[in-house]
């Protein structure tokens, strides 16, 4: 991935992450604010419920007190004070009194706890009422009351009507039902429910015991788990309730309502719709998406411009570096700023300039070294034939003092020697001259098998003489100069033969595909060391006692002129393999050749 793309991606990611982070933070803060507001509203509603509970309790207590002060109640008390009281005349009294005082529950019991009259269950006369005793609560309280249609939850108050010997207990109450809940002033989006935990100790949810101040919202069944939690723990709890996709989420706070004996009689459920929060969250998400989308577009545009601005000098630097890598050490980068990129460009320019200077110095040094090496080699090469020449001439001079016959004989021998050494000198000079005059390759299609078999054929006699087995396996063709390639492979085959004077196996293998031809020439000679391998293609370097060191240099020169490369793989004691890889070079073929292929 390019630097510009990375920069672009980074800018985009930064924008998206920033917007997402802002959205998450805003959403979180909104939720916290909503929860806080919801808690406050719920607490206010619970407080309102408790106020209403207390107010209604006081109201019940007042009504019970009114009944206690009723003359009929006094007559009842009088009847109760008789040794064998007869309560049969008061069966309906509680109903009449409860109706007059708008009480849902009213029981009148004597001080032995015997019910004299019951409004909610008239048939209960004669039964015992546990609350009719001196320990009866003096403040209004919650109570589960039995009725013929089942237990009901009510807000009760007890008043004792003492008399000289026997007293009466008036236990009145009102039903805690939807009417009670409907008196609460509910803020918009809130509702209050009451779960009557009527089966003492119940830990299961009974839908029929759930009373709502409003129409069912569809979440009623979803409250079961919360109610069961409160039934189990008897502590405040809350939950987000959603029972159906159609219904709105609702935060529900559950407050246990306990009776006199601390038993859980009811659960007040304050529900607050989460619709405002959900809408706000939706708006935040929409805004975040919009901002992210817009920001992304702006980021792409801005970052494109910025990335172009930032990366253009870098790209120029990279381009210049590529040129330098390709050999153009004259590459130059324009310094357009004074920042780090400008400094880098300036440094790069100075580096290339320094490289050029060093290259010049290196070339000069190499040139001097080459000349020195050439001079050394020439000196060495020329010195060998010159020494016999000098001896021969000195011998010829000394022979002048001898007899004519001896001189003639010496002269004849010396002349032969001189001619031979001069011929040797000419050969040496000729080789150097040939190397210097290496021609440019004339490309044409070359069948590798044919080429390599012709090379081996030249050395067939030497191969037979040195007991070398030769294997030629070649396919394919390549575009190249057949004479130069013949020369190159001849040098390699000759080297291989010279490496196996005690016999061995010569392998010449070639293959080619659409783009490359590969030729391997291997021997089973003694091999060469790694250091020798590294210096093998240096001109005038030779590991042999006799040699100019130009053979492999010629090979490398030819391979290089064909755009190929040569490498060597050798292992001491096992042999050496030269590997030549040549490009197909079909584009360098004359059009006629190309057409034919």
């Amino acid at each position: 991935m390019s630097f510009r793309r990375r920069l672009l991606l980074m800018f985009a990611l930064t924008v998206v992450i920033s917007v997402a982070a802002v959205a998450v933070i805003v959403s979180y803060m909104a939720r916290r604010a909503f929860d806080r507001a919801n808690d406050e509203r719920s607490a206010a509603l619970v407080a309102q419920f408790r106020r209403e509970f207390n107010r209604r309790g006081e109201d019940v207590a007042r009504r019970v007190q009114t009944i206690a002060a009723d003359p009929e109640t006094s007559r009842m008390a009088l009847a109760a004070s008789k040794p064998t009281p007869d309560y049969s005349a008061y069966l309906d009294d509680a109903q009449v009194m409860a109706e007059a005082q708008r009480l849902d529950f009213l029981e009148i019991a004597d001080d032995r706890g015997t019910i004299i009259s019951s409004a909610q269950w008239p048939a209960k006369f004669g039964y015992k009422e546990p609350l009719a005793n001196a320990k009866a609560p003096t403040v209004p309280f919650l109570k589960e009351e039995e009725t013929p249609s089942g237990p009901e939850l009510g807000l009760f108050a007890v008043r004792n009507l003492p008399s000289a010997e026997h007293g009466l207990f008036i236990i009145g109450g009102i039903r805690l039902d939807r009417t009670f809940l409907s008196t609460l002033d509910l803020p918009a989006g809130m509702r209050v429910l009451l779960y009557e935990n009527l089966d003492s100790g119940a830990t299961s949810f009974a839908p029929q015991h759930l009373i709502s101040s409003s129409e069912p919202s569809g979440n009623e069944l979803g409250l079961a788990a919360l109610i069961q939690r409160v039934q189990h723990d008897a502590k405040d709890a809350n939950a987000v309730v959603s029972s159906s996709p159609a219904a709105d989420d609702e935060t529900v706070n559950a407050i246990p309502l306990k009776g006199e004996n601390d038993q859980l009689l009811g659960i007040l459920l304050v529900g607050s719709s989460r619709r405002p929060y959900n809408e706000l969250r939706g708006q935040i998400r929409s805004a975040a998406l919009l901002a992210a989308g817009s920001g992304l577009a702006v980021a792409i545009l801005l970052s494109s411009w910025l990335a172009a601005r930032v990366t253009r000098p870098v790209e120029k630097l990279a381009q210049a570096a590529h040129e330098v890598a390709a050999g153009n050490w004259n590459a130059h980068v324009e310094v357009s700023s004074e920042d780090e990129i400008g400094q880098l460009a300036d440094t790069f320019n100075r580096m290339t300039a320094e490289l050029l200077q060093q290259q010049d110095r290196l070339v000069q040094a190499e040139r001097v070294a080459a000349w020195r090496d050439l001079a050394r080699r020439l000196g060495h090469e020329l010195k060998n034939p010159l020494f016999p020449l000098q001896l021969t001439v000195e011998n010829l001079i000394r022979s002048r003092e001898l007899g004519q016959q001896e001189f003639d004989e010496t002269f004849r021998e010396s002349s032969t020697t001189l001619l031979a050494e001069i011929s040797h000198l000419k050969t040496i000079v000729s080789r150097f001259s040939d190397f210097a005059r290496m021609p440019q390759p004339q490309f044409q299609r070359v069948e590798l098998r044919e080429l390599l078999e012709n090379v081996v054929k030249v050395y067939q006699a030497q191969l037979s003489k040195t007991n070398i087995t030769c294997v030629v396996e070649a396919t394919g063709s390549v575009a190249g100069d057949p004479d130069l390639l013949h020369l190159a492979f001849s040098n390699l085959v000759l080297n291989a033969i010279e490496a196996m004077l005690q016999g061995g196996r010569l392998g010449v293998r070639a293959s080619a595909d659409q783009s490359t031809a590969r030729v391997e020439v291997s021997d089973t000679g003694k091999g060469i060391t790694h250091e020798e391998s590294a210096r093998l293609f240096t001109p005038y370097y030779t590991s042999k006692k006799e040699g100019t060191g130009l053979g492999l240099a010629v090979v490398q020169s030819i391979v290089s002129d064909h755009g190929g490369r040569i490498s060597v793989r050798s292992e001491l004691g096992k042999g050496t393999t030269f590997i030549i890889e040549l490009p197909s070079n079909t584009e360098k073929l004359p059009s006629a050749w190309s057409a034919r292929t």
């Binding site: 049969s88 209960k124 004669g126």
Partner: protein
């Protein structure tokens, strides 16, 4: 009230003993399977026609298709398939009243004549000047029908009626309020009737336990204000003489309860008359008492039920006839009643109770409140009004 217009051959006195009325005497033959009833002479119908054996025989045949009724000169002969020792008492039933049919209308021999009748609302009667037993003291009687006890009481308080019915629970209160109250002996039966016979011995035991769980004394005293008597029998003791051997409930000790309720019984549904508040309180009390015993009863005011709280008002003060009526009303097998002794009656009643399909609770009184200027009011035990004996004194200012 039917007796004011139509009369029977026989009437029962307060002890349930048959007394001659349109018949002067009767004679049993062939082991109570054949009865000869001698008719009173000088009795005429409203249209002036004389009461004769053929008219009486026609009336009895219409009311009793299984009887063989034959007219003799001054008597009718009744033959039955089985001995019917209580046949004279059966003749006292209003269903066996004598009527003559003329142009599709029934004409009676009673002390009053129907002058106007609005079914279910109002009945106007006028004195029958030709009544064979002497003209009634009052010239006419206006009867409002279909009024509740409360409405009757209101009309009485407003001075718009001279006589009203009083619910059993209000008898004591009316008397305490200074009203003149004429009440009968406990006669109507309040009972729990099971819709089906018990399906198992466990259920029979449970029904026994239920029968012994009721605090009927408290119900009678508090709810009915002593307007009845607790009972464990179908027939009142004053009628049968042996009802005390069937004691009322509230005598179930814990050990016996545990034995009877060894197995759990499916809850029963009890239906009561929702229009009657007293019925509701009694039903609720039964529910409470049953719960104390360990039985569950659910109350219902409509639909199918396992139990029904019934009040049955027999129309005869004869024990045998009443037992047959009660059995019929409770859906129990009809008692045979072939014997004439108290032991036979006891055996038949016990057999009915042993079906475990009925639990007697109370015998209820019936009563009327009459204004102070009404004299000679006389209700029969079975609730018949004998207005022909009533006379009115001038009201005091």
């Amino acid at each position: 009230m039917t007796g004011l217009v139509f009369e029977t051959l026989v009437r029962l006195d307060d002890r349930g003993v048959p007394q001659p009325h349109l018949a002067t005497s009767w004679q049993a033959e062939s082991g109570d399977q054949r009865w000869r009833i001698f008719l009173r002479s000088g009795v005429t119908f409203r249209d002036g026609a004389r009461l004769d054996a053929a008219t009486v025989a026609a009336s009895l045949r219409a009311a009793n298709p299984d009887w063989k009724v034959m007219a003799a000169a001054d008597a009718v002969v009744i033959e039955t398939a089985s001995p019917r020792p209580a046949l004279p008492a059966e003749l006292a039933l209003m269903s066996n009243s004598v009527a003559r049919h003329e142009n599709g209308k029934a004409i009676g021999t009673g002390p009053f004549l129907i002058s106007q009748f609005d079914s279910g609302k109002h009945l106007s009667l006028k004195a029958n000047d030709q009544y064979w037993n002497g003209r009634p003291f009052v010239d006419s009687v206006e009867i409002e029908l279909g009024k509740s006890y409360r409405e009757q009481n209101a009309l009485f308080d407003l001075g718009k009626t001279d006589v009203i019915e009083i619910a059993p629970e209000n008898i004591h209160r009316a008397e305490a309020g200074g009203r003149t109250v004429v009440s009968s002996r406990p006669f109507s039966l309040m009972a729990l009737a099971f819709a089906e016979p018990p399906k198992s011995a466990d259920e029979s035991h449970a029904r026994n336990a239920l029968a012994m769980s009721f605090d009927t004394t408290a119900i009678n005293h508090v709810v009915l204000q002593d307007g009845g008597e607790p009972t464990g029998a179908l027939l009142p003791n004053w009628l049968s003489g042996y009802a005390f051997v069937f004691p009322p409930g509230k005598n179930l000790d814990a050990a016996r309860r545990e034995k009877l309720l060894a197995r759990r019984i499916t809850p029963w549904t009890l239906r009561y008359d929702a229009a009657d508040p007293v019925s509701r309180v009694i039903a609720e009390r039964i529910q409470l008492n049953a719960r104390d015993t360990g039985l569950t009863i659910q109350l219902a005011i409509s639909g199918a039920s396992d139990l029904n709280l019934l009040e049955i008002s027999p129309s005869s003060a004869d024990a045998r006839v009443q037992l047959r009526e009660l059995a019929s009303a409770l859906g129990l097998p009809a008692p045979k009643l072939t014997g004439n002794s108290a032991a036979d009656l006891y055996a038949e009643e016990k057999a009915l109770l042993d079906t475990h399909q009925v639990i007697p609770l109370l015998q209820l009184k019936s009563a009327v409140s009459v204004r102070a200027n009404v004299h000679g009011w006389n209700s029969s035990t079975s609730g018949e009004w004998h207005v022909e004996d009533v006379w009115l004194s001038p009201e005091k200012p």
